[in-house]
Point group: C2
């Protein structure tokens, strides 16, 4: 079979190569890859900024935003040949820590978790792949190719769960949410805000390309320009930050209404000092009983919530999020600069 592989730590090493077909274990599905989404983490791995090969190997099969069709399922597994599935990305650490031992491996405490296509386990960027039945999630057949959005949606399903559980520590009836960034993460955050009947605002830099129409297509309000003006205008109960840009992160932390919750989802790089009025930021967080929560990854519960959210969404809108499809033989293009694209997907069949 053909697979997209990379040598972590070596920039520009992404390639499509021939590998032996995988063999499913007794508790595993054998799956024919349908599509693979590409995100910032994949590009970071391609640029040698992140990623770990399996122990004893140089190269890793890339890809964690999966969609495939079951070829072979263990009897009694509940899965049937031909069903669409996606694979959960993270696996518990082997120790395991308390969180992993309780199935909450997205909250792993010791950092020794492994991740398909990212950390020590081969990903889903291949014509055939296997997945343990416990880590396979069924995709609504009506979604078809759009099921490739399940993994990024799971990240937002977790983020919204965090917001709601944290909000529930006292009286909580949010009305307004501001999302910073109109990439795939920001758009899926906005979708789930609309599904919760909230007033949704999305801020991004651009004035053209597909993003403004995608935001408006949800019934949300698109903003560009200065974040402080948008915050003053919208007075958000919830901010979901999806850029990792320092000025937006700080504005998001400080800019919520009383009892506000800022959920940080954008992974930034450190090392560049930025001037912050920390006294004012601390004062506003304390006196308003505000929360800042970071959210990353997702466990099975979040994948199931994401599957429900995608099934309830307008398929035309979801399709418009996928602004470019690349065939497997040209997969390397998807890991380079893709400009104003929203979601780039590699077709595996």
């Amino acid at each position: 079979m053909r697979a997209i592989t990379v040598q972590p730590g070596r920039a520009g090493s992404v390639q499509v190569e021939e590998l032996p077909d995988p063999v499913a274990g007794t508790d595993e599905l054998l799956v024919r890859g349908v599509a693979l989404g590409v995100c910032g983490t994949d590009k970071e791995i391609g640029a040698a900024e992140y990623g770990w090969a399996p122990p004893g190997r140089d190269r890793l099969v890339l890809g964690h935003e999966s969609l495939g069709r079951v070829v072979q399922a263990p009897p009694g597994s509940g899965f049937a040949e031909g069903e669409l599935v996606a694979g959960v990305v993270r696996r518990p650490d082997p120790v395991p820590c308390g969180a992993c031992a309780h199935g909450e491996f997205d909250m792993c405490r010791n950092g020794r978790y492994r991740e398909r296509g990212i950390k020590e386990l081969d990903g889903f960027g291949s014509e055939l792949w296997t997945v343990e039945t416990d880590y396979a999630v069924r995709v609504d057949p009506e979604l078809g190719h759009l099921g490739v959005l399940l993994e990024p949606a799971s990240v937002l399903a977790k983020a919204w769960e965090q917001i709601e559980r944290i909000g529930g520590r006292s009286w909580f009836e949010p009305r307004t949410v501001l999302v910073t960034g109109a990439g795939p993460i920001g758009l899926l955050a906005a979708l789930m805000g609309v599904q919760r009947a909230l007033e949704v605002h999305v801020l991004d830099r651009v004035t053209d390309g597909p993003k403004p129409a995608l935001v408006r297509g949800l019934g949300a309000t698109y903003h560009h320009g200065d974040v402080s003006g948008v915050i003053a205008e919208t007075h958000p109960d919830v901010v979901i930050e999806a850029t990792g840009v320092s000025a937006l992160v700080v504005a998001a932390m400080a800019g919520t209404a009383h009892y506000g919750i800022t959920c940080l989802t954008g992974v930034s790089t450190g090392g560049r000092p930025f001037e912050v009025d920390t006294g004012g930021l601390n004062r506003s967080i304390v006196l308003e009983n505000d929360v800042v929560v970071g959210s990353v990854n997702a466990n099975q519960r979040h994948y199931r919530a994401a599957a429900d959210a995608l099934a309830a969404a307008d398929p035309g809108w979801l399709a418009a999020m996928i602004t470019r499809r690349v065939p497997l033989e040209r997969a390397v293009e998807a890991f380079g600069d893709t400009g104003d694209e929203v979601k780039v997907v590699i077709d595996l069949e």
Copy 2:
């Protein structure tokens, strides 16, 4: 009766003056003041940096850390003459907002709440005061004068409730807590950490005075010096920040273990930019699923939890926290610079 009053907005205006005795309403207790604690907020009001007089008046009766003895109680109220009580500080906003309407006025959304001795309502710094039975909290008679610590303890009971409810969003079994600041708030935070059987570390600047011994008296570890060294050494699951000092706030936010919770309780002043590696801070909060939560004020539930915590504490240790007692006639001294004192209390009888 004599009362401690202040003209908010006018520095140096704290004085002891003669005022008419208050008259209890049908749903109120008449209380003889026993003692009054003084905190940073009181000093801010004395320095004209905070505080609001009741509408139509220039002066406010100061004091919100109350302890008194019931002189007269409405029949059927459940309170009896001679009982020790403290008064809850905050009252719901008149609108009310959703939080206030649900009894969660410590989470008031519109900022129109009122506070005894701070914002638009007379405080408890007088020989006689009244309090609505719904806002009076019974103090264990065995605590005696130490019941004056109930209000600051309520602030920490709320902070710990926030930490536990937020931690409960996934698997949570914290082991180590770091408290920054060994003033009354930090010490009460540490007390409640020890009561939860956690490994407690407290960081402060001083090497002498009463603080190191108070921390050690709890069975906690006292640290002074560089915060980053202490964080690296203790790897805290929970940080309770009780100084408001920018360098400590930022270190606390960034310094927790995975799934860490930083609870900010120190009220700082804004306006002084501070260099922060916001990219690194954001990355660590996201990738570790960390939370930063601000906590201020308390509702009746927290006062009751605080009463339980004080009743379970060593009375000798609590007594050692009160490092100075001032008679009412010299009350003004308590609002000035009190140096290395931990808690200064004014005797009202």
